[in-house]
Symmetry: C2
Subunit: 412 residues, 2 copies
């Protein structure tokens, strides 16, 4: 008995998937207990010099209509072609595995439902955290827990930039340029730098953990392009590092709080030690307590590792749906940002620090004032008590009449 | 449709399993898609005041002969009763999940074979790393990788003791006493302190990763009882912390290298940040690179988290064997310790440091000499180049004629 698979998209992740599958083929077959062959690679480009040139095709229908194909890796990306392909494949009972976070975040609930109805599987371990095992651990290993909170460094590009700012005192612009030179950032870095990529990923994790669809367009998302060296220095002296963190948790009244934003992370927290392009996700369960999953969040072979892992799982569950409970939801499940409780770091410029200190303390209550070497007397930085974001916003609006608000960063 | 489960053993892990299962029952049932009830708790002791007193039984045959029981959690521990129970249950087609690392390390291959033959499952996520998802991530999520190396802090008791020695300058004896007062160490701490517990765990991980049985009695295992404050200080100044590390990896000639011993861990390595009773396991795959899994390695609810996660998985795979390839092996698969290549820290006492320096350098080649505040002139500490352990041993034997060898600790 032999199983056939196909790969759609021969870009970075696609070619990595083929490479890793062929490299570890013997072990994979021993694991599954039967022969497995890569039958087709679909890509619109030509690859005449590829060792797999004989399997390259351009017509999707060849895969769709081949009854031998059991599992397809969709690594095209985007939410148009990929959506149509995935839907058609699942409807024909073929399992699909993917690294496509955009499609999973937008259409996960719908595609999982189709997979359920056709006794096949839609798996997407590679869509969050690259090679880091995180989807299956949350959904399977921690199935005995209520998930209380997930907080993660979910984007390697921004973590690389912040690491350079923190460890080597580079400015944001210099660090971004270096990331682009190293191939870690796109020419247009917006999706990474403004947190859009991390936002999709935290929505996928939250949707899985809470079983309800969390729409990436509906949650608060801010990036790192406004972080300055002054902020990095204040954080350092106070015992923190600045990281871009996606957080999702459920609240006592049944709402879900989800957000992507830069955060002050205590140097004692495991996430503070996650540097360069690495990712890490901290999952807190009501039984297990805190767990952390760390590894390469992107890259050719790390992402391929997750795709091939899903291919193996799909082949082992051929004909049976594994079952994720991620339901579409129209109801209003999200906690509005104004209702979030946060403690925030604020940096302002205005009159002399001493007079600002007393004015702000009377407004916020007990503040923690921060220092940095060479702080000018017209600059003040402080951490507020934990309070509703609506209150913080209101206070900052009042402040902005007399001082210039330079930075506002939440504390994790 | 409703499923029935049973728990054997109502000690710390058993009562935690019952508590967590009942606490999260609604969510677990939604995940599995049917009602699940805890029907029996087997324990020889009486618990008349327990809320589950009506389900307490003392006769194992009631569970064995009840056709309604699909999954049994064996949390008795030990390798005698637990072995007989597990074997009988699997032979009758009931799945067994367990936290029993001793039994899994000794009889894993045999029990997995019985499970395969009877289309049920033997799952043991809780046997390594307490609540940390590690068995399923290695075996399932990283199935597309050849595992190159696993290195982990696998015992919470010793990590607590070492943390107190490193962070609070306690002696080993003081730190052990504190661990006992906190309930982290047994009255007889041998199994933890001498690395026996960690040894079972690294053998389980290695057996899974390489598909061949690694016998805990056949690998080198040394504990932390001889670590001194001097060693801790030399490590600190040189940029290391001392941790008890289990390592398993495969070698180029097809042998498996496995060992438990204290190690100097570079402060830049993620494992160096793992403190107190926490555990962490670093898994390196040929696709994914380095991944780290971190969390509570022991304790009532964390361990129960893994047991309940396995109950859920067993119920979802009722009637189908998930299939671990962990074969019994009589062949000589282990690399002898003398053949291992290591770089080691050595601390000696003898004549004046300068004359020792030149004598040892001519013997070992290029040494890195270490310093600590208040080093007496008759003490010398150094790190050797990477060389065969047989050569290191031979050199140390010669040295021992002229100096006293106080410590020898491998570098990770």
């Amino acid at each position: 008995m032999s199983s056939k698979i196909a790969v759609i998209g021969y870009g970075v992740v696609g070619s990595g998937t083929v490479e890793l599958f062929e490299m570890n083929k013997a072990q994979i077959e021993e694991n599954i207990g039967r022969q497995v062959d890569l039958k087709y690679i679909l890509d619109l480009k030509d690859f005449p010099d590829s060792p797999y040139a004989d399997r390259m095709i351009k017509d999707f229908n060849i895969i769709l209509n081949d009854p031998e194909i059991e599992v397809v890796a969709e690594v095209v990306g985007g939410a148009t072609f990929a959506y149509n392909y995935t839907k058609a494949l699942l409807e024909s009972g073929k399992s699909v595995v993917t690294s496509n976070k955009e499609l999973v975040a937008r259409k996960g609930a719908e595609l999982l439902k189709i997979a359920r109805e056709h006794s096949c599987n839609y798996l997407f371990e590679a869509s969050v955290g690259g090679g880091i095992p995180i989807i299956r651990p949350i959904y399977r290993c921690l199935a005995g827990n209520k998930i209380e909170e997930i907080a993660g460094i979910l984007n390697g590009t921004t973590n690389f930039i912040l690491t350079k700012m923190i460890r080597e005192q580079m400015s944001f612009e210099e660090a971004l340029k270096l990331a682009q030179q190293n191939g870690y950032a796109e020419a247009d870095p917006t999706a990474d730098v403004e947190g859009i990529d991390a936002c999709r990923k935290i929505c996928i994790l939250g949707s899985l953990a809470y079983g309800k669809n969390i729409d990436p367009d509906k949650i608060h998302c801010s990036g790192i392009s406004k972080i300055t060296m002054e902020d990095v220095e204040y954080a350092d002296v106070a015992g923190y590092v600045i990281k871009l963190i996606g957080v999702v948790k459920d609240t006592e009244d049944g709402k879900i709080s989800a957000m992507v934003s830069p955060r002050f992370v205590d140097k004692k927290h495991m996430l503070s030690h996650v540097d360069d392009v690495y990712n890490a996700i901290c999952v807190k369960g009501n039984g297990v307590g805190d767990t952390v999953f760390y590894g390469r969040g992107a890259g050719k072979l790390p992402t391929a590792s997750a795709v091939v892992g899903d291919i193996v799982d799909a082949l082992k569950h051929q004909g049976t749906n594994i079952g994720f409970n991620w339901a579409d939801s129209d109801e209003d499940i999200l906690l509005p940002r104004a209702e979030e409780e946060s403690s925030v770091y604020v940096r302002v410029k205005g009159e002399d620090a001493e007079s600002m200190k007393s004015a702000f303390s009377s407004m916020f209550g007990k503040l923690i004032f921060l220092e940095r070497a060479g702080r000018p007397d017209n600059e003040l930085a402080f951490i507020t008590p934990k309070m509703k974001e609506s209150e913080i916003d209101a206070n900052l609006t009042i402040l902005s009449h007399t001082v210039s608000i330079e930075s506002k960063i939440r504390i994790l």
